[in-house]
Every structure is written in structure tokens, then in C-alpha cells.
């Protein structure tokens, strides 16, 4: 069910939510967090809501979408409530602020009365994020701030900002996209021969913050020289090679879909390793709300990697 509340305010929205709960049975029980999605008014809203709804099946939440409308319009707040079939396992509140209400501070003021009592708050910027999320008006309300460097207009610049201004509680989907790669590499080192890794090479597209970040992670974990090179593939990250005395452990993904794991003395093994979708990443992000220290360390590690120029063939 979708209820529109044009030219409204937060307390009207709250009242309407209670009313809907009473007339439609128990809708809002068992919500574990409030997810605040900050975006510009436009087409991207529906994609973000869909991702939030699909994540809400694992983490029942209240989703508040803060859509910044035209700044030149007269100040006004339009609200929309979606519950039941239109909201997955969550309840979605879309707040559109116009004029002065499109600015961050008044925006946070609209969101504040609608936060669930006692439950953690997560802020998510699906596209452009503030330069310092932890100092943003919405970011200050949240325990966890999720950004996505890859979806912004200039991924490398956004990633540089993340590195420069990281505080505990920030994460970026750049990191979430790496989980499966990291799991495969860690699993490969679980089993003998238990030799030290002496050097590592990471290759991927030139504009691929995830590739940089993986190199940074390896740099902090392995304490050896890590080289980050461009690759001939155009599908994000495409190769990781860990050199050990008995031979290299190599994970390659030339086509962005299927990866091959090769280890000395063992047959090559293939595995599906598709690039992850945003809903999938968001679900993983919401699974843990404590600061991700490993991510923080990996960001620092990016400063230690050396850059190669020759593209690596995969």
C-alpha cells in the first residue's frame, strides 16, 4: 500500500504510521534498524528502494529515503509511506525536501523524529556521498555510514576522499565487492604448503577502486611488496597472484564471471565469481554494524602499494 502525504511534516507522517499499523495489523514489530538512504530526487530512487527492500528480508528495517529536490523551489516536504507488498519486509518512508529543506541540516531534522527508538541507524548514499560522511548532518545520526565510490561520477576521486577521511563506522561498497575474492584467497592459504608469501601482484582496470583496496588489504596482511598493475581485461578486478617459494597461487577472472584458481601441483579449478549486485552488497553491509577495522587498515595499506604501468595479460 502506498500513501501519499503532500506538503506534510514529520509528526503527520508518524501519526499516519501508527494509524496504518492499527488498521492493518502488526507491521512495524521486530524492526532491527533504521536505514536512511540519501539521494537526489530522480530515477535513482526506485533502484535504491528496491535494494533496501531486498536487504530488509534479511534485516527487517524501517527505510527512510531522503530525496533532495529542487533547491530553488518554495520550501516544502512531500512524504510517501509504503507498507505491505510495496515495501518488502520493511516499511518505506520517502521524504522529498524542496527549497531550504533540500539542505543537509533541515534534511536531518525531517528524519530525526522518524528514527526507530533504540535501534541502530545506518546511512547509505547510493550515489554521490559527502566528502566527509562522518561530519555530514545525516552521517552524524548514524552508527554506520555506507558509501559507494564506484557509483559516484568520479570513482577515483571518491575513493581518495574515503581514504583521506576514514573514521570507524565508515564503509564503502568497494570493500564489500571484495569479500568473495578475499575468502577464496584466504581459503587457498588455509591449506598446505604453509609457506610465506614473498610478493604479490594485483591487476585490474585502471579505474577500479576495489582493485586498489585489495592490494591495500594484502599489503597490511602480508607485509611484503604489493604491486598494483593495470590489466588487459575490462571487467574490474581480474588477477591476484601470491608468490610463494613452491610456486604462485593465482586467482584470475578475465571475463568478470568465472574465476580460475591455480596452485602448483594441483589442477586448475574454476569457480563462479560474478561481480556482486548492490542489493547483495547492502545485505552484507547490514549484517554487522560494528566498525570494520580491517577495512580501515586496508585503506591505509593502499598508500604502501607500488604501481606498475605495463598492463598484465589475463
Amino acid at each position: 500500500m502506498i500513501v501519499d502525504l503532500p506538503s506534510s511534516n514529520s509528526s503527520t507522517v508518524n501519526k499516519k504510521l501508527v494509524e496504518l499499523r492499527e488498521s492493518n495489523g502488526v507491521l512495524a514489530l521486530g524492526r532491527v534498524l533504521t536505514l536512511v538512504v540519501v539521494t537526489d530526487d530522480g530515477l535513482s530512487i526506485e533502484g535504491a528502494i528496491e535494494a533496501a527492500n531486498s536487504a530488509s528480508r534479511e534485516h527487517p528495517c524501517r527505510v527512510i529515503v531522503l530525496a533532495r529536490g529542487a533547491r530553488k523551489a518554495a520550501p516544502r516536504m512531500d512524504a510517501q509511506i509504503r507498507v505491505g507488498g510495496d515495501a518488502g519486509a520493511s516499511e518505506v518512508i520517502v521524504l522529498r525536501g524542496y527549497g531550504a529543506l533540500a539542505d543537509p541540516e533541515p534534511g536531518a531534522g525531517m528524519v530525526m523524529p522518524l528514527l526507530l527508538p533504540d535501534a541502530p541507524v545506518v546511512a547509505w548514499w547510493p550515489n554521490e556521498a559527502p566528502a566527509v560522511p562522518s561530519e555530514d548532518a545525516i552521517g552524524k545520526l548514524a552508527q554506520r555510514r555506507i558509501t559507494d565510490a564506484l557509483s559516484s561520477k568520479n570513482p577515483l576521486k571518491a575513493f581518495e576522499q574515503r581514504r583521506a577521511h576514514h573514521v570507524a563506522g565508515d564503509t564503502d561498497l568497494t570493500w564489500t565487492r571484495l569479500t568473495q575474492w578475499r575468502a577464496l584467497l584466504a581459503a587457498a592459504l588455509d591449506f598446505p604448503p604453509h609457506e610465506d608469501v614473498t610478493a604479490a601482484l594485483v591487476a585490474g582496470e585502471v579505474v577500479s577502486p576495489s582493485t586498489d583496496l585489495l592490494a591495500g588489504w594484502l599489503a597490511t596482511r602480508l607485509n611484503v611488496k604489493i604491486k598494483r598493475s593495470p590489466s588487459t581485461s575490462t571487467h574490474g578486478m581480474s588477477l591476484v597472484r601470491l608468490t610463494r617459494s613452491s610456486g604462485p597461487v593465482e586467482l584470475t577472472r578475465p571475463d568478470g564471471k568465472i574465476a580460475t584458481l591455480s596452485q602448483p601441483g594441483q589442477p586448475d579449478r574454476m569457480i563462479a565469481l560474478a561481480r556482486r549486485s548492490v542489493p547483495d552488497c547492502l545485505s552484507e553491509e547490514l549484517r554487522r554494524l560494528d566498525p570494520d577495522e580491517i577495512y580501515g587498515a586496508a585503506l591505509t595499506g593502499v598508500g604502501e602499494i607500488s604501481r606498475g604501468r605495463t598492463p598484465v595479460k589475463v
Binding site: 528480508r57 584466504a186 579449478r269
Partner: protein, 519 residues
Amino acid sequence: MTSGTKISSGSAGYVNPLRDPRDKRLPRIAGPCGLVIFGVTGDLSRKKLMPAIYDLANRGLLPPGFALTGFARRDWSTDDFGQIVYEAVRQHARTPFRQEVWDRLAEGFRFVEGSFDDDDAFDRLESTVRDLDRVRGTGGNHAFYLSIPPSAFPVVCKQLARSGLSAQDGEQWRRVVIEKPFGHDLQSARELNAIVDDVFPEDSVFRIDHYLGKETVQNVLAMRFANQLFEPIWNSHYVDHVQITMAEDIGLGGRAGYYDGIGAARDVIQNHLLQLLAFTAMEEPTSFSSDELRSEKIKVLNATKLVGPIDETTARGQYTGGWQGGQLVRGLKEEEGFDPNSRTETFAAITCEVETRRWAGVPFYLRTGKRLGRRVTEIAVIFKRAPHLPFDQTMTEELGQNAFVVRVQPDEGVTMRFGSKVPGSQMEVRDVTMDFGYGTAFTEASPEAYERLILDVLLGEPSLFPVNEEVERSWEILDPVIEHWQAAEEGPAPYPAGSWGPESAEKMLARTGRTWRRP
């Protein structure tokens, strides 16, 4: 309930530099390995095992190069087998179908045709497995899933030993997975354990009780030991009694071969219900390592005793035909394949007591049955009444006992029941419920029990599998009841399909002034 950072193989003292306990995102992927399923044509294998394997692959938790080998007496090629798995996955898998995942998984399929007494077939299986090590890099690590009747265990175990399939050397592992029933009494359970233990060391034997793979059951431990709210009242000072129920609304048509002569007590109480009792009543383990968890479970099972006299503290019944929920159903005796004079019980209830200081004097009522009112499994902890009420009788007429109910399935969650004032000018207190819907909100993305358990087998993580000792101890608790019932002249009391069991079930609680909850 995680394994910590133990790695099943490898040189001592090795620490994987890429792992860090703070890195909670990293899932543990099973090491190189393969799974061999005996009895691939069965229902369990098609509806649960194959879909679970695909779901694991889809979630990226299986190792690259994972191999799945089917063994059955069918004239199938590997492609035919692949087709069977494909259909099972398309029909029953939980996660969406992804062609690229399927393609990689299907490369590791093999099929070996043969019967259990055929030496040649097992030799072929052995060479298939060895070939997988070479081609797929399974590294000599293989699990054997015996999805077959227990009567076939001896011959299959013997064959596994003879062909060298069970031999583990060095860092390679071989594990065997077995399903209930683990025998039909203490004696037979011991014999079965002896047969399996003869071939596989106890730490390589994984007994599946799929209830323990359920999130809600593991949540009982989280609920009890992670919260301050419940533990202080979780004892005989406050708890009046506990009811553990597993009810099914289906009958036994088509399952005569397995069920006739076995009955509800052996089928369900011995394993599922006593395990649920152990989770509910156990003391806090010092850690969640499998050893600690098991030793607490064994302790509580050792303290669990039957309450007598058995005639009065137990009940058994058999469903009769009639209209159930708008459908005409047959009674057990008319079901296909059952003896018209069958004395097999389809409803069983027993009374236990846990003889520890915490639980002294608190009865645990366990009941299970087929063709009952609805399908439900729950643990209900019923509290004592408040000792003194500052209200007069008329004010609290509608106030029952407080209850804490863990709904194991379906609609997973927790319900709390307590009294609340009825709105109005008068002081009147009535029962209300507070509901935590774990089910409606979480389960869509939470794994099936079999996914969790198969992954644990491949990882060598044993906490969720009952050990030998627990199985034997459970039979020790149950055996006197079954012997008593068998010696009795009368058979089980009839109860109409769709009801909540025979009258004797009500009587066994009524003798102490209690009643069953209607779940």
C-alpha cells in the same frame, strides 16, 4: 557456535596471514573436497541434499573444484545423474538459479552404478574418487553421505573399508554422514555405532539431526546465554513446567516400510525432542566450542530421568480416519502397507525430569504425533503463577500462567504471554501475547538446516552433530517406556485425525493439574 580459528589440517603453529578474528566478513569456505551420496534416488537426497549443495555453491561456500558423486543401482550415465540433480535444484533450491554457478558445479558430477554388495562397483567408486583428486584437485578429502536404510549400513561400511575408501592418511580426511534412525533401542544403537566406528574414527562420524541445523534452535542458546532478561528466571523457582511439542498434520501413507513397528516415540522423541530438551535445560557452556557444548548436553541428558508410573505419565495413540481440515483421510490401520492390526503408535508423550538443582521438580512434557491439529514444533516454558495477587478473584479470572514459547517451526520466532490490564474503568487483567517474528522477517535469507549441516561436515566442525554418547543416553531414557508399552495388553488409544491426541494425553497432565497448550 563457530569453530574459532582451528584449521583441520596443516602444520602446527601456522597462522594464515589473511585471516583475522576481527575480519567477520570472511566466510569460511570448505577446503578442497568431494561428497559421495549413497541413495541418491531417495526423497531426502532430491528434496534436501542436492538443493542444499547448489545453494552452498551459489553462496560461494564450496571450494573451487568441488565434486559430487552419486552411487545407486540405476543404469545412469553421469549426464543422466546431472539431469536429476538439475531438476532437484530447479524445483527445490532456495537461492535463485545462476547458470554460471551451475555450470561450474556440474563439472564435478560423477555417477557410479552398482549395488551395495557389488565389490566391483565399489572398486569403480574408489577409482572415480581417486580420479577426482587428480582432475578436480579434491585432495583426497571425501565425505560419504549414507542416505540409506540402516540395514544397509554394515554392508556399505564393510565395502568402504574393503575398497580402501575409508582409509585416511596424513592430512587427508574421510568422513561419514549418517541420518536417523540411529538404531531402534539402546542395544541396536550400540551395534550400529560399533559397525560405523569400526571403519571410521568417532570424530569422522557426523550424525545428522536436522533440527539442530535450524536457526531457531541455535537461537535458543543465544536467547538464553546472551541476555540478562531470561536466565535469572530459567529455573525451578519460576518455571512451573516445560512442554516440547512436535506435531505434524500429515499421515503416514507410503511410509509403512519405515514406520510400522517403529512408532512416534522412536522416530521423534529419542532424537529431536530430547535434543530440544537438552538445549532448553543445559547449563551454560564455558565456550561455544564443540567439546564444551557437547559435554554440557551430555551432562543434562545424564541428569534426565523418566517420571513414573509409566502408565500414568505417558500417553500413546493412533489416528483413526475421518475428516481433517476439510479432507477425508484414512486411519493408520487403513493406510497402504500397514498391518490392519498394527499397534504402532502415531502419537507419543512422555514425562521427564531433569535432576539438577536448577530443574528440581520441574516436569518436562514431550509429545509428538502425526495427523494432529496442525504442523508445529515449539518449546513452551510455562511459569508459575505469581505467589500473591493484590487483585481479587474476579479481576484475574482470565489471567493464565505466563509463558515463553520458542516457535521452532513454522513461523519461527518467540512468543511471550503475560497479563495486561483490560482498558476500562475496572481493574481486570487478561492474557496478552508479545510476539517476536523471527520467521517472517529473517528466514528468507537464512540458510536451510541441511546447508548449514553439510557445510559443517565439509569444514569438520562437529558442534551441531550429536555424538555417540548422546544417542545411547537418549535410548537409555526412552527404552523403559517402549518396553512397557510393548508389554501392555492394550494397543495405543485411538484419536481422530486432526485432533490433539488421545484422551490419555490430557489425563497425564491433568493428574498434576496442568493442561497442554494448544500450539
